[in-house]
Amino acid sequence: MKKIIVPLGPDHPLFEEPEFFILHCDGENVVDVEWQAGYNHRGIEKISETKHWDQVTFLVERICGICSNSHPVAYANAVENLLGIDIPERAKYIRTIISEMERLHSHLLWAGLAGHFLGYNTVFMWVWKYREPLLDMMEMLTGNRNNYSMIKIGGVRRDINDEQIKALRKTLDTLKTQNEMLTKVVLDDPVLQARLVNVGVLTKKDIKDYGAVGPVARASGVDIDVRRDNPYAAYSFIDWKVITRENGDVFDKAVVRLLECFESIKIIQQCLDRIENKKGEILNEVKEIPPGEGIGRHEALRGEVFHYVRSDGTSSPIRHKIRAPSYVNVPTFKKSCIGQTISDVAIILAGVDPCYCCTERVSVYDANTRKKKNVTWTEIVRKSQEKTKKLKKS
């Protein structure tokens, strides 16, 4: 049978970002997958070497829009690891609150998008409606809906006051009931189960081979979570548990994410209890970064973020290595996609919650193998502008 090649990307409505998967198909079945990356590569690791230590927090924030708190936390952890310092207790709680709120909004975002990919737009709209108040809370706490700029080496930039805590509690309570409903809908819907159960299964061995992390690993029964294994911020002071499932299919990944939302709500509520009606320092001023190297980790929404920094005592890092969770999660598609159908590839890739901005921190294929046109680019632009003018006049 003749194989057909289906390009998935670079600009596929499935992905928010440009990314290119070439599916070698036999009818509707996928027999091989190639991954072409680099459409999003911006060279952040190199740019980081030209910025001041404090500026780098803003730079890493812009690695990825959804993990815009995870990377700064991991980076700050790395620098603090290099310095060997601790941060004030209140700052720890605030970091935890922001991190968990980010996790909540990202998991909801994922659930909505997953619905969207399945052509289930009602789920998409409802979930995104629930997510909106969270973004309002973020705006209230940090001043921006995304890109929060809360983290600073040695602490946090802004404090949280008691009025904000009250408003936050209210939002979380409504969110909890909404999330309960959503979880029920997902767990019980027979059509969703038909689409998700036993699709894109990853075994424990696959997880180890590719080093996958986060909800992807936890859905396959690999019990890892940096928040518990190597606690930072306030995670060691708080009572919560790691969610794991056994099957490793897309359905389990969805369940892990939805159940994690409840844990996040629990964590935030406990943190709020500890900082309410209290005052305290939020920043340990850091003046100089001595020579040395440090590693910082953070359990981001998609898994472990890993930052390695090296200093030679000057005002900017001489090497800054960033490993986003998607960098190890996405390659698992090689195991999970092959043998599935084209329709499933969409949801399998979505199940990983890929984030290519993260993956290519540091970064025309003619998808239709069309013949090259012998017209120069300026010619085309000129022609099209003329036509636009003409149409505007008429």
């Binding site: 057909i4 090649i5 289906v6 390009p7 596929h12 409505p13 499935l14 198909c25 009818g27 509707e28 619905g115 969207h116 990919f117 399945l118 052509g119 289930y120 737009n121 009602t122 789920v123 709209m125 409802w126 409606k129 059509v191 969703l192 038909a194 689409r195 159908t341 084209i342 329709s343 499933d344 969409a346 998808a367 239709n368 069309r370 013949k371 046109k373 036509k387 149409l391």
Partner: protein, 301 residues
């Protein structure tokens, strides 16, 4: 009625079909939006879309087969329109001929054929995946749809004229209220969801999987023709169901029955995710086939 009148009336009714189809699609979008806590577009949105598309440039890909690429949307549009006009003529004016039901069934396969041809002629991988899905789907959903209509023909003493079928139900009772008729209606309803290409069977266009699928390369007025086809089908297919299963000669009843079917369609659309192609095929070949056989077994009841 002389030939001139017929021509004039068909033009008038064609325009009505287009307008009503666009309107009902607008209503559909509005209701969907309300279900999703949104305001939604105004009711005339689809008219604006079509006018806009007609003003846009139509680009034809270099690798495409020009002839098929251009004619596929036109043929599917005309097929849907002709089917609609035939049904309306036999319902309203009693102008009917032997075998017009068969003609309508044939004409209603044209829209999908157009989609398949158009998709596969455009020389794009995503479009060809879309049309191969459309092909599989049409094979799956056409059979139950036709089979349920064959049952109606059998029930109406082998009459293949829509007028006769409607007329006969006056004497023998409405088909929908017999056991076999009810089952056949259920079958035809799912078949028509497949024919209309709405969720859960919108695999051929699946925006989030294969980016518009068979329509990927279409732009401008040619895309507009596909949109119009869909709008006309939204009127014609339920109308055919009404004629063969409810059959009355009362306009008010028709409108009510239409609205009921329309509501059912919307409910199905908004409470289901898109099915995978093999799941859709399994649904049609296993579940629906059993129902068809059941309806034939209970034919006399």
């Amino acid at each position: 009625m002389n030939i001139l009148n017929v021509v004039l009336l068909s033009i008038v009714w064609s325009i009505f079909l287009i307008a009503a189809g666009l309107l009902i699609l607008g209503v559909e979008r509005k209701i969907t939006a309300r279900l999703q806590w949104r305001v939604g577009p105004p009711w005339w949105q689809n008219f604006t879309d079509i006018i806009k598309l007609s003003a846009k440039e139509t680009s034809i890909p270099e690798r495409a087969n020009r002839f098929i690429f251009i004619f596929a949307p036109i043929v599917s549009f005309l097929g849907a329109l002709a089917a609609g006009v035939i049904i309306i003529f036999s319902l309203l004016y009693g102008i009917s001929f032997r075998g017009d039901l068969i003609t309508v069934i044939f004409l209603l396969t044209l829209p999908y054929s157009g989609l398949i041809l158009g998709g596969s002629s455009s020389g794009n991988a995503l479009a060809s995946v879309g049309s191969s899905r459309a092909l599989k789907l049409t094979l799956a959903c056409e059979l139950p749809f036709i089979a349920s209509l064959v049952l109606i023909i059998l029930k109406s003493n082998l009459s293949t004229s829509i007028y006769n079928i409607v007329n006969m139900q006056k004497n023998t009772g409405i088909n929908f209220f017999s056991v076999s008729g009810f089952i056949a209606f259920f079958v035809a309803f799912w078949g028509s969801i497949g024919k209309l290409g709405i969720v859960p069977f919108d695999l051929a266009e699946a925006d989030t999987e294969i980016a518009g699928g068979a329509l990927f390369e279409y732009s401008g007025i040619l895309l507009g023709f596909f949109k119009l086809t869909k709008a006309v089908l939204f009127i014609v297919v339920p109308l055919l169901l009404i004629a063969s299963f409810f059959g009355s000669f009362n306009v008010l009843a028709w409108i009510l029955e239409y609205l009921v079917i329309f509501l059912l369609l919307i409910i199905v659309k908004n409470t289901n995710p898109r099915l995978r192609i093999d799941q859709s095929l399994r649904f049609f070949w296993k579940v629906i086939i059993i129902l068809i056989i059941a309806s034939f077994v209970f034919m006399k009841i």
